[in-house]
């Protein structure tokens, strides 16, 4: 199932910040769309916004609109336009033939083009990863999931374009927390579990299951859930779509908190190419956003401190040995 218009509120909240970016209109894995096409698409979309917008909900352009349904299916151009799909005509995904009149044909309300129609190659590559994911393996879950379940197609901007780690974290964690931090949403997708009353898995409390993680909230603001909940991939490769459960997720702090931090191949993988050891710091691209103990170090300062501590140790040791030798000599002299 492709849930096309199921996230209007999410779109408004998350998209509001992304809209401020005014990102260039470039499709994720395709050649840039020319300006004339973009303008033609935006013009065509304007016809949809006449009804499918917050303004239309407030002031309906027609008397016979079903406002309760419209409230759940409006999109804000200011949020949609800068998103990855914002260069497209709404009808490229929302069955073209069914939107020529009002009320729209019934099929139009339920049919959307599958993501694979455009993203065939990527989909083929990601499918085995998704099939190994907790979202596919848990009973009764796979059929409920589409790309849009986690990646809001009307809002999201890919990491390469978004660049700012803070915005990437906000966007991507929102995709996870929307269900994992909401009883209602989790219940909608909850996997079957016959052992439990009601036959459905209960939402695990996020604070409780992350109780082992020091400063959990600081982590959630600075990194994405998927930094730990996806397997390690080779440098330069896209993150895996195999979402790991809590048993399999990364629990070794040093994966990130060390000089060879895996954040370089994850959250910072697009920024790391510009690493210039700013002010002499290792992983300065990470430091430009977050001080990560163990990862963002200054080798020169570290060597200086180690040198001073060693000099102090050697100093007191030498002083002690000399004192002992001098005392022995004095005792010897006195004995004479």
């Amino acid at each position: 199932m492709f849930h096309s218009f199921n996230k209007p509120l999410v779109a408004v909240l998350l998209g509001a910040s992304l809209a401020l970016l005014r990102l260039p209109a470039v499709a994720a894995d395709a050649a840039p769309v020319d300006q004339a096409t973009i303008e033609a698409n935006r013009k065509a979309n304007a016809a949809c916004y006449e009804c499918h917008s917050a303004a239309a909900v407030k002031k309906p352009p027609r008397a016979d609109l079903d406002l309760s349904k419209l409230k759940e299916s409006h999109i804000e151009p200011a949020i949609f336009n800068p998103s990855d799909h914002g260069v497209m005509d709404c009808r490229q995904c929302h069955a073209k033939n069914h939107y020529t009149e009002y009320p729209h044909a019934e099929a139009g309300k339920t049919t959307t083009s599958p993501c694979t129609e455009c993203h065939a190659a990527k989909s083929l590559r990601l499918e085995p990863q998704f099939n190994a994911s907790v979202h596919a393996k848990n009973s009764g879950l796979k059929e409920k999931f589409s790309c849009n379940t986690c990646h809001n197609v009307h809002v999201n901007v890919i990491q390469k374009r978004l660049k700012d780690p803070e915005k990437i974290v906000a966007q991507d964690n929102h995709g996870c927390l929307e269900c994992h931090n909401s009883e209602t949403m989790f219940a909608r997708f909850a996997p079957d579990d016959e052992k439990l009353a009601g036959g459905k898995k209960k939402r695990p409390d996020i604070d409780t299951i992350h109780g082992w993680l020091p400063n959990a909230k600081a982590h959630w603001n600075a990194v994405r859930c998927i930094e730990c909940h996806t397997p390690e991939v080779a440098e330069g490769k896209m993150l895996s779509h195999e979402i790991l459960n809590k048993e399999k997720a990364e629990k070794k702090c040093l994966a990130c908190h060390s000089a060879n931090s895996s954040l370089k191949t994850r959250l910072y993988r697009h920024l790391v190419k510009g690493e210039q050891q700013k002010y002499g710091f290792t992983n300065s691209v990470i430091l430009s956003n977050s001080y990560v103990i163990g990862a963002t170090r200054h080798p020169l300062l570290d060597n200086l401190i180690i040198g001073l501590v060693l000099a102090t140790l050697l100093g007191v040791l030498a002083h002690g040995v000399l004192r002992a030798l001098a005392a022995m000599k004095r005792n010897k002299d006195q004995a004479k």
């Binding site: 040093l254 401190i305 501590v309 140790l313 001098a326 004095r330």
Partner: protein, 204 residues
């Protein structure tokens, strides 16, 4: 039997050893966090983080007790180098450490109830306890509550200056600790000053 003075009241000794234990724990865990490396035999990172947080808060409490007790008892006066002749007395003390001690010369400034610390000692103790320690604790507290750190500074995370200051003051205190433990052996006998720190009695 030699003459002796009851130099260190119980509260100072209790505070001193609490402080010592906490600083050792914080040094081991702090090194494990800062120099985190899978190849080094350090305390496991999340355990080190938890211990460091708890011991750090305990050190804040111990310091608050120390500062308050120093005011109430008037012990703070020991940390004030008294002019005139501060520099001369420091130089005389330093000369003893680098020369006189090897020749078996007596301490240039014998310990009295009024002057527990020699001038060089009081200057260094003052710098450590009233300059480095507050900075270390303040930066540690900001580390614990990073929302109080500046958001960004010089194009870097605003926590960077806090972290660097914490690291530098921590390193200064570790170096002080090494020297302090060693200099504890420079009493009338090698063990005399350690004994005083336990019993409170100074043997003249």
């Amino acid at each position: 039997m030699s003459e002796r003075t009851y130099l260190l009241p119980l509260w100072i000794r209790l505070w001193h050893w609490t402080n010592a234990l906490l600083i050792i724990v914080l040094t081991v865990t702090g090194v494990s966090l800062h120099f985190a490396d899978p190849k080094l035999p350090l305390v496991e990172f999340s355990l080190a983080a938890r211990i460091h947080d708890i011991a750090g808060l305990a050190l804040v409490a111990a310091y608050a007790f120390f500062a308050l007790a120093n005011i109430v008892t008037g012990n703070w006066w020991q940390y004030v180098p008294k002019p005139p002749g501060v520099i001369d007395r420091c130089l005389k003390q330093a000369r003893w450490y680098v020369w006189g001690i090897f020749r078996g010369e007596p301490h240039p400034f014998p310990v009295t109830l009024q002057n527990n610390f020699n001038t060089l000692q009081s200057l260094i103790y003052w710098a450590i306890m009233y300059l480095a320690m507050p900075l270390l604790l303040l930066t540690g507290l900001i580390f614990l509550f990073p929302e109080f750190a500046p958001d960004r500074l010089f194009g870097m995370d605003g926590l960077l200056p806090v972290a660097v200051l914490h690291y530098l003051t921590g390193a200064a205190i570790v170096m002080f600790m090494i020297a302090h433990i060693y200099l504890g052996s420079t009493g009338n006998t090698v063990g005399a000053m350690y004994k005083t720190m336990i019993t409170g009695w100074h043997e003249h």
